[in-house]
Symmetry: none
Subunit: 190 residues, 4 copies
């Protein structure tokens, strides 16, 4: 993923874009399981070696292809009203995990990370969920009391939705309004 300057032909930006675009399309069309390096290369109209040169496996390609979208979808413009901000964030999170392309990519990668430490490291390198939650949670912790660490607060906020969707319960039964109240109450005296 490093690019050297100097001698030789420079990296083809069009090839890079083709690959990222291809992996995005393919994830939707065939799903993660049927996503292959060979298939990506063919769909992108690119040599196989070119894919391997810049990414070591399909997880890396997929990560690079989806992380920007993921960040955007999880970014909430803060109003300063805790209830509103939390609610907006949980809605965004639910939509991301349950319905978005980037979210599907994230879930696939997180699944792979359970038994592939390379993928786990990749995901840890850019903690999309944690960082997005921190933006909402940090102001509250600074302002309010509670002795919760930011990490714990994040887990408390994200956890229930995260579990709901990843365990296959579906997003319908997620009640973000009620969860905001629970979160605030749990936080309160802590």
């Amino acid at each position: 993923m490093v690019q050297e300057s100097g001698r030789g032909r420079p990296r083809s930006e069009s090839a890079r874009a083709s690959v990222l675009h291809a992996v995005d399309d393919l994830l939707v069309e065939v799903g993660y399981a049927a996503l292959t390096m060979k298939g990506i290369a063919e769909r992108a109209g690119v040599g196989r070696q070119t894919v391997y040169r810049w990414w070591s496996n399909k997880a890396e390609v997929l990560y690079e292809a989806s992380v920007i979208d993921a960040r955007q979808e999880l970014a909430v413009s803060l109003t300063g009203v805790p209830r509103d901000d939390l609610r907006a964030y949980l809605d965004a999170l639910t939509g991301f995990l349950a319905h978005s392309h980037a979210g599907a990519a994230y879930r696939a990668l997180l699944g792979e990370a359970q038994h592939d430490e390379d993928v786990a490291a990749l995901l840890a390198s850019g903690d999309v969920l944690g960082e997005s939650a921190a933006a909402v949670v940090a102001p509250l912790l600074e302002a309010g009391g509670g002795d919760l660490s930011p990490e714990q607060a994040t887990a408390l906020l994200i956890g229930p939705v995260f579990f709901h969707i990843l365990s296959g319960r579906g997003p319908e039964s997620v009640d973000t309004k009620k969860q905001v109240e629970q979160f605030l109450r749990a936080l309160a005296a802590d």
Copy 2:
């Protein structure tokens, strides 16, 4: 997975046991990614067709091999004291997800379920986490007030730990004692 009918040679119980044993061993030895139907059959000293005859894929074998252990590890003997029971359950859950063989199998399956709906259906067919939590949560809901559905209470209890570990944050930063308090507070006035 049951079969009955007088005719024909009956299913070999020893073959079944060999396969389940083999998949258990192999998960530990080579990991989920390198687990193959071929490898399972060879390790079990069994024909490949015999494996395919009773299980459609490695996820099914693994599920059958680990679900009983999983249930045992997550079963908590209730004392009737909410704080103690909840604490015991969260400790068991943390240990299961982070350190147990059966837990590793569960995490692998849950990962696969994110992009394979057959596996998702398989996991949904026996909701190990949900059921084990219900045993602890149900008494509280009956006793106490709150308008939380059992499902929501379960997600509230399990979610934070679940997120912590599956997102790669590690079990060290899980503080079950504090989480019990949060849970009880969130539940309280609801």
Copy 3:
């Protein structure tokens, strides 16, 4: 292929007939290569073991199923006029090898015999071609002169047609009339 008398259930004649019938049908429908012991048993509505009990491989079944037809098709009613009898025999031989079901079975078995000595022994045990030719050739050898052995005369008579058809030249280019003349001339002073 032997049938013992005595205790126990006697061999089922209907099973035997079903198998022979099935192999006949299947040869025509799917060809020799796709003929399998399993397929025969299923088509005959018979247990696999029953087939194996009485025949050791598909060649044996096929041989038993076709040898009688073969003998019939190659039997020529002699008139005593050499030219007519030889002509009739060569016509029968051509038809047998090129167009008949039994002939297709024979060619398949002969092919297998080239690399399977069990099948070679099976074919040698009942030399359908040789015997049928002998019936036509023997009278000539007794009557006429020539120091040809019956075997050599048989080869001389059958050989050209046999080669023509088995080497894939097709039966159209077989001129039995001319071959009779050649045969008689070659035989003449020998």
Copy 4:
């Protein structure tokens, strides 16, 4: 079986040679029936796909591996003396069919051709027997009279030996000297 085009890695000549060598060895060692594409690839130290890429089945590999030897073994250096040339050819033919490796391959292929039209077409594409005989027969037909077609003369010459050996009568009873006389006499007034 030819491939050309600048792009891409060119076909490995060493892989091709290994495969042809392997199939030759294996035919002798295990026989045609036990010859498998898998076995060929493994023996040649070559990927299975590489074998399938250039040959569709074991018959094609075997054909390519043996056809050159076959042609050599059946080539007779003509003296111009019919009796000598015919005799030499029949001796070569007998040796080829009965004792040579290439001949064993030919018989196996011819057997397969009886029930596999792909193999039949393959054999027909290079009529080793017909062409070799034509070289000996053509001069006679041009010189002498007779209204025999080259095809018929070929069948007349080859047929008896061919039948003798393929029908399992063995090469001992082949009397090439006598057969030359028969052939010449049959040819004579025709």
